[in-house]
């Protein structure tokens, strides 16, 4: 991992990896999804019924414990990583690089 600081434990901190998924709310029309669906159809994938496109973000962070990591990631999502007007988010947290 390019910019990451060395080992998993450092001054009592642990590296966690959060995998965040940000999706458009269901009520919001997804232009990218519709376009991709159109392309899939014209490529012969007519069995495709719907496509929705979202973002996945992997954030590595170094915190004291799991709870802190979880709180911080949640705050990042609320503040910056998702736009509550049109998006929902969820994340998964795991220990280690």
């Amino acid at each position: 991992m390019p910019t990451m600081k060395s080992g998993p434990v450092w001054e009592g901190k642990t590296v966690y990896k959060a995998t965040i998924t940000v999706r458009l709310k269901e009520s919001v029309l997804d232009p990218q999804g519709s376009a991709v669906q159109g392309s899939l159809h014209s490529l012969g994938y007519e069995e495709v019924r719907q496509v929705r496109i979202g973002k996945t973000m992997e954030v590595w962070l170094e915190t004291a414990d799991f709870q802190e990591a979880s709180d911080r990631v949640d705050a990042m999502c609320r503040k910056l990583l998702a736009n509550p007007v049109i998006e929902d988010y969820e994340f998964r947290l795991e220990k280690g690089a």
Binding site: S27, L29, P31, Q32, S34, A35, L80, N83, V85, I86
Partner: protein, 227 residues
Amino acid sequence: MRFAVPVFPGSNCDQDCAKAVREVLERPADLVWYTEDSLDNYDAIILPGGFSYGDYLRTGALARFSPVMEAVAEAAEKGKLVLGICNGFQVLLEAGLLPGAMRVNDHLQFRCSIQTLQVENNSLPFTACYKQGEIIRLPIAHGEGNYYCDDQTLQELEDRGQIAFRYHGENPNGSVAGIAGIVNRRGNVLGLMPHPERAIHDWMGSRDGARLFRSMLQYWEGMYGAA
């Protein structure tokens, strides 16, 4: 009347906006670096187009946390005129100074062209020099101008006359109700995707944008006299 044009890393229409103010209104316009936290010396603010922070994550999402944005919010609060053009509009949405959010164009491509618009409300500080319902031509240049808001917000925008401009004829990005530009409830913050600063001389292909700036000046002079 003194204009501030905040510059974020990645802004690229900042000079164009300042130039338009100088050429159309012959009023001073200063470029203000995004780290500034006061805009007290200015009467109006233009958030320029471009790709602040590369438009990474979401358009306008990273710029909204700049120190200068607090000053912009303060200025809006005080009733100063705030105009967000293109990326500036996107920043205003992310900052919550205007309702709604921006999505990628429905055809997924960047689109640059001169578009016809209809003036939906000419009683705003930004539109007084247009006729109600007038059809004007302004350039657009964006990949994410597909404005979204929920039905209730849309109803409110319609009811309160907050829709300033709508695309006329072709909707170039799929925006809800053909919206090209909206104002806040108070009417002193306008965000629009088209670029009025790119339409101030005939050689540019249109000069319909000049009257937007003139409207701002006229409004201000109406409030404070021709100083």
